[in-house]
C-alpha cells in the first residue's frame, strides 16, 4: 500500500518534470529592440536614495493604499497594486482606474508578479521591509515614501504627492491637487465657524469589538485625521499619546471618561462592523456627556484614514456634514 503510494508519487513527479522543458522567454542573447530614452529624471526619495529614471514613469506599481491613491489622483493608472479588494472597500475617494493587476498583500507583495509586469517604477512606503525593497530594486527603480510621520502628517502627505508627481511627470496635476485640498480646508473651516463650531473640541476614533471586549483606537493630534481636524479650526480632545508614525493610541471605554463634552466622530466600515453600536447598553458609554448630548457621529464608509488629499477632502466633506447637521 505504502509502496504503491510512493511509486505513484515518483512516477507523477517524473512525468511533470518532463513536461516542464522549454522556455517561456527567449534568452538575453537574442537582443530586443531598445527605445531611446527621452529626458532623464533624477530624484531623491524619502530614505535618501538617489533614483534615476529614463523618463516619466508610465508603468507604475504601488504597494500601499495611500500611494495607490496618490497615483490615481495624479491621473496615472497603476499597472499593479496591492490588495485590490481591500482598496476598493476602504478607499472610495479615488477609485482605481484602468485594470491593475493584484500583486498580493500590502505586507508581502509578490516579487514574481511585480517582475512579470516589468514596471518602469515601483512606489513603496517605508513600512515595507527593507529586504523586500532591496529585491524590488533589482526588478525596477523603487522610490520609498515616508509611510506616516506624527510630527507633520499633512506635510508628509504633500511630500509624497510631490515625489510621485516628479517621477511620473505630473507636477501640474500635483499642484492642482494641493490647491484643491487647501480650498477644501478653507471651505470646511468657514462652514464650521458659520455653524458656531469654531474651536469646538473633537475626538476622532475607530474601534474593534471582539467577543465581549471593546478596544477604542484614538486618532490623536499626531494622526492624519487629527492634523486635518486642527487645520479645520477644531481642537483635539485626546490626552493619550499616539505612536510616532501614525499618531494612534489605544484605550478602552473607561478611557473616554476624560474627554468631557466633545464632538465624537468615528470611522467604521460595514465590512468590519460598528464597534460603537455595540456599546449602546454599556453604562459607562451611556454616562458620557457627548453620548447624552447626541454628539456622536459615524462617518461614511470608504474614507481611508491614512490616505492622500482626495481621501482627506472626502473626510472634510463628511465631517462638516455630520457636525453641522443637527
Amino acid at each position: 500500500m505504502r509502496r504503491n503510494l510512493l511509486a505513484t508519487a515518483a512516477v507523477a513527479v517524473a512525468a511533470l518534470s518532463l513536461a516542464a522543458c522549454g522556455t517561456t522567454e527567449p534568452s538575453s542573447d537574442e537582443p530586443a529592440a531598445a527605445d531611446k530614452p527621452a529626458g532623464k529624471i533624477t530624484l531623491t526619495d524619502h530614505t535618501g536614495v538617489k533614483v534615476t529614471l529614463d523618463g516619466p514613469a508610465k508603468k507604475v506599481v504601488a504597494t500601499e493604499w495611500n500611494v495607490i491613491e496618490d497615483l490615481v489622483a495624479l491621473g496615472v493608472a497603476p499597472v499593479g497594486v496591492a490588495d485590490v479588494k481591500g482598496y476598493t472597500a476602504w478607499n472610495t475617494a479615488a477609485p482605481l482606474t484602468g485594470d491593475p493587476k493584484d500583486i498580493g498583500t500590502r505586507g508581502e507583495p509578490s516579487i514574481d508578479t511585480v517582475a512579470a509586469l516589468a514596471p518602469d517604477l515601483v512606489v513603496a512606503t517605508t513600512d515595507l521591509s527593507p529586504a523586500v525593497v532591496k529585491q524590488l530594486r533589482k526588478v525596477a527603480p523603487v522610490i520609498e515614501v515616508t509611510a506616516a510621520d506624527a510630527a507633520d502628517q499633512i506635510g508628509t502627505m504633500n511630500d509624497s504627492i510631490d515625489l510621485i508627481a516628479k517621477a511620473t511627470g505630473t507636477e501640474t496635476k500635483a499642484d492642482a491637487l494641493k490647491k484643491d485640498f487647501e480650498a477644501s480646508v478653507a471651505e470646511g473651516k468657514k462652514a464650521l465657524e458659520d455653524a458656531g463650531l469654531g474651536g469646538a473640541k473633537i475626538a476622532s476614533a475607530d474601534g474593534y469589538v471582539q467577543a465581549n471586549q471593546v478596544s477604542v483606537r484614538a486618532y490623536t493630534g499626531g494622526s492624519l485625521l487629527g492634523a486635518v481636524n486642527e487645520r479645520l479650526g477644531l481642537e483635539n480632545a485626546w490626552t493619550v499619546k499616539g505612536d510616532k508614525d501614525y499618531g494612534l493610541a489605544t484605550t478602552d471605554v473607561e478611557g473616554l471618561t476624560g474627554l468631557g463634552d466633545v464632538q465624537f466622530t468615528y470611522v467604521a466600515n460595514d465590512a468590519d462592523g460598528d464597534a460603537f453600536s455595540g456599546l449602546a447598553k454599556n453604562a459607562v458609554w451611556k454616562s458620557l456627556p457627548f453620548v447624552k448630548n447626541g454628539d456622536v457621529h459615524r462617518l461614511p464608509d470608504g474614507v481611508w484614514m491614512f490616505g492622500g488629499p482626495r481621501s482627506m477632502e472626502a473626510y472634510i466633506d463628511s465631517l462638516v456634514d455630520a457636525l453641522t447637521k443637527k
Partner: protein, 688 residues
C-alpha cells in the same frame, strides 16, 4: 471556600491535615480578596480608591459610579472567574490523565475558540455577544472532541497531549493566516487572541458564571472517583469505580470550564498548566490537600490569584494608557512560565518516559527503497518549486538562468525564487535533524525545538533585532536568533542538567520557557509597533518571503556539520535513546553525550529560524514519521528524517506561494496545515 468532608479513613490524621488545608485555603482566599480590591482601583479613567469607595457606598457622582459598576467590577469578577475556571480545569485534566502537561492550552480548547472567532471576523458577520461567545464555545468543544476522539481517552497520556498540541498548532496556524490575509477585519482579533480580562459591562460575566458554577459542582461530585483513578486503572476498577466513564465526565467538565474562560477573556495562557503545578508541592506538605475534593477548589483559588495578580501587576507597572495595549494574557503567560520553571526545579522527577512505541523493524531493502523514493520525490518537488509560482517557468528558462544568459523577467523571478526554495529545503532538513536529536536525547516524543523553547528564544532574539534596527543583515539576524536560542536553551538545559536531565523536568521547563518567549514576542510586537502587527506576524509565520542567498548560508553550514556529527555518532544516539541504564553499563558518559547533541540541536534550530522564521511541527513530525517508516536505528532514521523535513517545508513553501497567489502564506502556517492531518493519521494508526 473549600468544603471538607471527613472520611472514615484515618480520622485522627485527617483532623490535623484538615487544619493545614483550611489554613492554606484561607490564606489564598485572603490573597485573592486583597488583589481584587487593588484591581478595582486601577484603570484608564480617573477613578481611584476614594472614588471606588464612594461608588460602593452609593455616594459617588454618576460618571464615577458607572465606571466602577460597568467596567471595574466586571473586569475584576471576570479575572476571578477565569482564574478559577482555568485552575480547576487544569487540575482536573492533570488528575485524570496523570500527566503534568495536560491543560486547556495543550488540549486545543483555546485554539478552537480562537479559530471560530477568526472565521466569524473574516466573513464580516457581526454577531451579538451571546452568539459570538457561543461560537467560541462550540469551537473549543469541537477541538477537544477531535483530540479526545482521535487519541482515545485513557489510552496513553502522552498521546493525548501530543494530539492536543498538534491540533492547537494547526488551528492557530489557520487563524494566523486569516489575521495576515484580512488585516482590516481582524485587527481586534489579534488582541483578543492574547487574552484580556476587560469587559463590556456585566453581560459576559452574567452569562458565564452559571456555566462555570455548574461545571464546578460537577467536578466536586466526581472528585472522589478521580482520586480512585490515581491508584491506577486496575485498582480503581477493583474499588468499583467506572474508569472510562469517570474520565469522560471529568474531561468534558474541564473542557466546559476552559471554554467558558476563553469566552470571557480570550485564551489566557498557562494558568491551567501552572496553578496545579503550584498546588502540588503544597499538597505534599499539607496532606489534606491531596484529595481532589479539596485540591480542586484550592487550585481554582491559585488560578484566580494568578490572573488577578497579573492584571494588578500590569496596571501598576505600566501607565494606564499603555496597559490597555498590553493584554493580561501576556503577563499571565510570562508569570506562569517563570513559576513553572521554578516548580519544575522543585519537584522530584518521578515519571520516566513512556515505553517506546512498538514498531515493525523493516528490512534493509525497505529502508533503501524509502530513501530512494523520498529522494526522487524531493527532487521533483524542488524542480516544481523552482518552476511554479506567480509566473510559471519551464526548465529551459532555468538552464538559461544557470548559464547566466536568461531574459530580464526570468532572471528576476529566479533570483527571488531560488533562494526561497533553498531556504525552505535547508530549514526543513535542519529542523528535522534538530527534532531527531532532541527526541533521542530526551527519549520524549513531545520534545522538539519548538517545545523546548529553542525556536521561541531564536524568534525572540530575531524579533528584538528586527523591531529595533532598520534593515539588519542576514548574519546579524542569524546571530540574534542564535543568541536568543542560546540564552533560552542554556536556561532550560542548564536547569535540567542539575537533575541529570530528568525526562519530565526538561519538557516542563521547555514548555514554561517557550510559552514565556511566545508571550514576550507578542509583547515586543504590541509595544514596538502596535498598529503594524502584520509585519511581525509575517516573520513569525515562518515565511521564506524576501530571502536572499546570503540568508541561507548559516543554516547550510550548520546543517553540514550537524549531519556529519549525527552520522559519526549514530551508535551513541541509539544508546542515549534507549534508556537510562544501558549507556552507563557500556561506559558512555551520558550527560556529556546528551549535552553535545543538545548544543547541536540548538544550533540547528536557531539557524533554521533565522533562515525561514518560526516553523513549527517539522521537528515533531519528521522524526516520528521516519521511525514509523524505517524503525528505530539512527543510521536509518537520520537520512529519512532529513529528507522528510526538507520535503515537508519545501511542499509547504510551494503551496504557500501558489495557493492564493499573488498573496502569500507563510511556510510555517502551511507546515502546520499539512502536518496536522498527517500527524493524526500517525496517531490513529499506532493505536494500541
Amino acid at each position: 471556600m473549600a468544603v471538607i468532608e471527613n472520611t472514615a479513613v484515618g480520622r485522627d490524621r485527617t483532623a490535623a491535615a484538615t487544619t493545614g488545608a483550611v489554613a492554606v485555603a484561607a490564606g489564598l482566599a485572603l490573597l485573592v480578596v486583597v488583589l481584587a480590591a487593588v484591581d478595582i482601583t486601577q484603570g484608564t479613567a480617573d477613578v481611584g480608591a476614594a472614588e471606588v469607595w464612594h461608588a460602593l457606598t452609593g455616594t459617588a457622582q454618576a460618571g464615577d459610579a458607572s465606571v466602577v459598576v460597568a467596567s471595574r467590577l466586571p473586569r475584576m469578577i471576570a479575572a476571578v472567574l477565569v482564574g478559577v475556571a482555568l485552575g480547576m480545569s487544569g487540575a482536573a485534566l492533570q488528575a485524570v490523565s496523570r500527566n503534568v502537561l495536560a491543560s486547556p492550552d495543550t488540549l486545543a480548547v483555546n485554539a478552537g475558540s480562537y479559530l471560530s472567532l477568526g472565521v466569524i471576523a473574516v466573513t464580516g458577520t457581526t454577531l451579538p455577544l451571546l452568539a459570538s461567545s457561543g461560537a467560541a464555545f462550540v469551537g473549543g468543544l469541537a477541538a477537544t472532541a477531535v483530540v479526545l476522539g482521535l487519541s482515545g481517552i485513557g489510552r496513553g497520556t502522552v498521546r493525548l497531549v501530543l494530539a492536543g498540541s498538534a491540533l492547537a498548532l494547526g488551528l492557530n496556524a489557520v487563524t494566523e493566516a486569516l489575521l495576515l490575509l484580512f488585516p482590516q477585519r481582524t485587527e481586534g482579533l489579534y488582541r483578543w487572541g492574547q487574552g484580556g480580562v476587560g469587559q463590556n459591562g456585566f453581560d459576559g460575566v452574567a452569562q458565564m458564571a452559571p456555566v462555570i458554577g455548574v461545571a464546578f459542582a460537577g467536578l466536586l461530585l466526581v472528585a472522589r472517583r478521580v482520586d480512585a483513578l490515581a491508584l491506577g486503572d486496575d485498582a480503581a476498577r477493583g474499588l468499583g469505580v467506572p474508569v472510562r466513564g469517570t474520565r469522560i465526565t471529568t474531561v468534558v467538565l474541564a473542557t466546559l470550564l476552559a471554554a467558558a474562560a476563553v469566552t470571557l477573556a480570550g485564551p489566557i495562557g498557562f494558568v491551567g498548566l501552572c496553578a496545579p503545578a503550584l498546588v502540588r508541592p503544597l499538597s505534599r506538605r499539607f496532606r489534606g490537600l491531596s484529595r481532589s475534593r479539596v485540591s480542586l477548589p484550592v487550585t481554582g483559588l491559585v488560578g484566580a490569584a494568578l490572573v488577578l495578580g497579573s492584571d494588578v501587576l500590569l496596571r501598576a507597572v505600566v501607565p494606564a494608557d499603555l496597559a490597555v495595549e498590553v493584554p493580561t494574557g501576556v503577563v499571565t503567560t510570562v508569570v506562569g512560565g517563570v513559576f513553572l520553571v521554578v516548580m519544575a526545579l522543585r519537584t522530584r522527577d518521578t515519571a520516566g518516559a513512556d515505553a517506546p512505541d512498538r514498531l515493525r523493524i523493516p528490512g534493509r531493502t525497505a529502508f533503501l527503497t524509502t530513501v530512494v523514493v523520498l529522494g526522487v520525490v524531493l527532487a521533483g518537488v524542488t524542480v516544481g518549486a523552482v518552476l511554479l509560482g506567480d509566473s510559471k517557468l519551464l526548465l529551459g528558462d532555468v538552464v538559461n538562468w544557470a548559464q547566466g544568459h536568461s531574459g530580464r523577467v526570468v532572471t528576476y523571478v529566479l533570483d527571488t525564487r531560488v533562494p526561497r526554495v533553498t531556504a525552505a529545503l535547508l530549514a526543513g532538513a535542519a529542523l528535522a535533524l534538530s527534532g531527531t536529536l532532541v527526541q533521542a536525547v530526551t527519549r520524549n516524543p513531545l520534545a522538539e525545538p519548538g517545545v523546548l523553547g529553542v525556536s521561541g528564544g531564536a524568534g525572540l532574539g530575531a524579533v528584538l533585532l528586527v523591531t529595533s534596527v532598520q534593515a539588519p543583515g542576514s548574519w546579524a539576524i542569524a546571530a540574534a536568533a542564535f543568541g536568543g536560542a542560546a540564552v533560552v536553551s542554556s536556561i532550560v538545559f542548564g536547569l535540567a542538567a542539575r537533575g541529570g536531565f530528568g525526562q519530565n523536568r526538561l519538557v516542563l521547563l521547555g514548555v514554561g520557557v517557550s510559552a514565556a518567549t511566545a508571550a514576550l514576542i507578542s509583547l515586543v510586537i504590541v509595544l514596538s509597533d502596535p498598529f503594524d502587527t502584520t509585519r511581525a506576524l509575517t516573520w513569525l509565520s515562518g515565511s521564506t518571503y524576501g530571502r536572499t542567498m546570503p540568508d541561507v548560508v548559516p543554516v547550510a553550514l550548520v546543517l553540514a556539520v550537524g549531519v556529519a556529527a549525527a552520522v559519526a555518532r549514530r551508535k551513541e544516539l541509539d544508546l542515549v535513546a534507549l534508556d537510562e541504564d544501558t549507556p552507563k553499563l557500556l561506559g558512555l558518559g551520558l550527560t556529556r553525550a546528551r549535552l553535545g547533541f543538545l548544543v547541536l540541536a540548538v544550533l540547528l534550530g536557531a539557524t533554521a529560524v533565522a533562515a525561514a522564521g518560526t516553523i513549527g511541527f517539522v521537528g515533531l513530525v519528521a522524526p516520528h514519521a521516519a521511525r514509523a517508516l524505517v524503525g528505530r536505528r539512527h543510521v536509518r532514521v537520520v537520512p529519512v528524517a532529513l529528507l522528510l523535513g526538507a520535503l515537508l517545508v519545501g511542499l509547504a513553501d510551494l503551496a504557500g506561494r501558489t495557493v492564493i497567489a499573488p498573496a502569500q502564506l507563510g511556510a510555517g502556517l502551511m507546515t502546520a496545515v499539512i502536518g496536522t492531518p498527517y500527524f493524526f493519521y500517525l496517531l490513529v494508526r499506532t493505536r494500541r
